[in-house]
């Protein structure tokens, strides 16, 4: 909304799960974006379970149909296909920047672990997990690139090393002092807005 008001060539993108589509604020946001033709991309990560609740207890219609109900387009994409997701997002962004309003992208995928560490996910049939394990998006993209003669093993090793280093650094960092908990509730001084989208805390700055 701010981008549209300021006539900036930017769009906002938001991610949420299949369970979220049952909430009122999802529908309020979709309706609002449709009414004002806002440059927004709604990405529904449909991983087929909201905690333990399967899709047939979540909605009575295909969720991508929600977009039409609010006056804009929706597309269902194989959420484990990196290039398909990129293309759907690229096209949605182009529409947003052209003033053609929001897009709902339903990324169909699967959660490969429980809702949280404590959850053994036994409510999901084993065959379903295995079926989706075979569709691992990183493996698929690596194979696709391999066919084009690109070897991604170095890149994979680089990413794994970066993650390991970050985990090590986190584990080596001291735990915070308890007194810190009662600080930083209110901002004092001039707010620092997100600006051009490169948030100070995102790791993408400078």
């Amino acid at each position: 909304m701010a981008f549209k008001i300021r006539r900036e060539p930017r769009c906002a993108i938001t991610w949420f799960g299949d369970g979220s589509t049952s909430r009122g604020d999802f529908h309020e946001a979709m309706n609002w974006a449709g009414v004002q033709k806002l440059p927004v991309i709604f990405v529904l990560e449909n991983n087929q379970y909201a905690y333990s609740t399967p899709l047939d207890k979540q909605f009575a219609v295909d969720p991508v149909q929600r977009a039409a109900a609010y006056g804009f387009g929706g597309v269902t994409v194989d959420g484990n296909d990196v290039e398909a997701m990129f293309e759907a997002t690229r096209a949605a962004r182009e529409r947003a920047l052209a003033g053609d309003g929001p897009t709902l992208i339903e990324a169909v995928t699967m959660r490969m672990h429980g809702h949280a560490a404590h959850d053994d996910m036994k409510y999901v049939p084993r065959e379903q997990v295995e079926e989706w394990r075979a569709k691992d998006p990183v493996d698929r993209q690596a194979a696709r690139l391999g066919e084009l003669g690109v070897d991604v093993s170095d890149l994979r090793a680089e990413v794994a090393a970066e993650i390991d280093a970050a985990a090590e650094e986190a584990l080596a960092s001291p735990m915070p002092e308890g007194g810190l908990a009662v600080t930083g509730v209110f901002c004092e001084g001039e707010p620092e807005p997100l600006g051009d989208g490169v948030a100070r805390w995102s790791g993408f700055g400078a």
Binding site: M1, V35, E190
Partner: protein
């Protein structure tokens, strides 16, 4: 300087802030073309346009949510809830998103949520509430409640400048009944208490519409007792020093809330006094508030539950005689 109603003072704050800062925009139901249910933004759309005086869908959660999004990319949204009661539909976005964003992510959310609140005009249970305590209990939100036209403008300007989410409790019953001198242009009233009437025998601590009630209650009928009226103006932050100073000087305390009694702002004031000023007290802390019932539509029933001049005066009389 001009004499204005409380409502005109709110309009004046919004208009002056919008003229001074193009980041300020207004969002709400029926606020644009129609000028707002109470006409606070009457004519604004002609001066500032529909992008800055935005008629939104009837969706309180989305109003607050969009305001949060706009605020974190640099705008200064002022949201109007048509009635404060409707904020319950936007609760999650205000309490869980706006109030906690800075603590979680270091991302300030400079929004103001205007909440036309209070009873006294047969608005019934969905158009008469005083929900300020809901937000006092939610970390990260500031809560202010003016009682005069001067403070309505000054507190609203201050709220718009504040880098945090501020709940601005504007009392509907004061909109056209209260008048006062209001300076031209932007000025700020600090988020602190003020002595509305000085005294030394007893202090009535109150805010919002109850300040007028208290001032009338102590103006006569108390056998010449010197009664102070402390107008809190701000509930978060609460002006502990001003409260404790009044208690130290007056030793007897009546706390008046128009809100329902349990866990109201006055309960927090009473707890503060019990903890920090026990030795200063010369009698029990007395509270006058609306009992824990929805606000009735029927005029005699509403009149029976809302605090009024007679109830406050009676509470003062009894405590003075203690």
């Amino acid at each position: 300087m001009a004499t204005m109603t409380y409502l005109q003072a709110i309009s004046s704050a919004l208009r002056d802030e919008m003229r001074a800062d193009e980041r300020v925009l207004l969002m709400g139901e029926d606020i644009g073309v129609f000028g707002g249910a109470f006409k606070v933004t009457d004519g604004f759309i002609d001066e500032f346009g529909g992008d800055r005086v935005m008629d939104t869908p009837l969706a309180e959660s989305a109003i607050i949510g969009c305001a949060v999004g706009a605020a974190v990319v640099g705008l200064r949204p002022v949201c109007e809830m048509q009635f404060s009661d409707f904020i319950s539909c936007g609760f999650d976005q205000l309490v869980n998103v706006a109030g906690k964003m800075y603590y979680r992510q270091g991302l300030a959310v400079p929004i103001v949520v205007r909440l036309p609140s209070g009873g006294g005009f047969s608005g019934g249970p969905f158009h008469s509430q005083n929900p300020e305590a809901w937000f006092m209990h939610a970390p990260g939100l500031k809560v202010v409640a003016p009682s005069t036209a001067y403070d309505a403008k000054g507190l609203l300007c201050h709220a718009i400048h504040d880098p945090n989410p501020v709940c601005f409790m504007e009392h509907k019953h004061l909109y056209r009944r209260v008048k006062g001198d209001v300076p031209d242009g932007v000025y700020e009233t600090p988020f602190s208490a003020r002595i509305a009437a000085p005294g030394s025998d007893l202090v009535v601590i109150c805010y919002g519409a109850m300040v007028e009630v208290a001032l009338e209650a102590v103006s006569d009928g108390l056998d010449g007792a010197s009664v102070e009226v402390l107008d809190l103006r701000s509930l978060v932050p609460l002006d502990d020093d001003a409260i404790l100073d009044s208690v130290a000087r007056c030793s007897k305390v009546v706390i008046v809330d128009e809100a329902n009694m349990t866990c109201a702002a006055g309960a927090q004031v009473a707890a503060l006094i019990a903890e920090k000023a026990f030795e200063d007290l010369d009698g029990p802390v007395v509270r006058v508030a609306t009992p824990d019932v929805p606000i009735p539509f029927s005029p005699p029933l509403e009149g029976a539950v809302l605090p009024n001049v007679e109830r406050v005066r009676e509470a003062c009389r009894e405590l003075l005689a203690y």
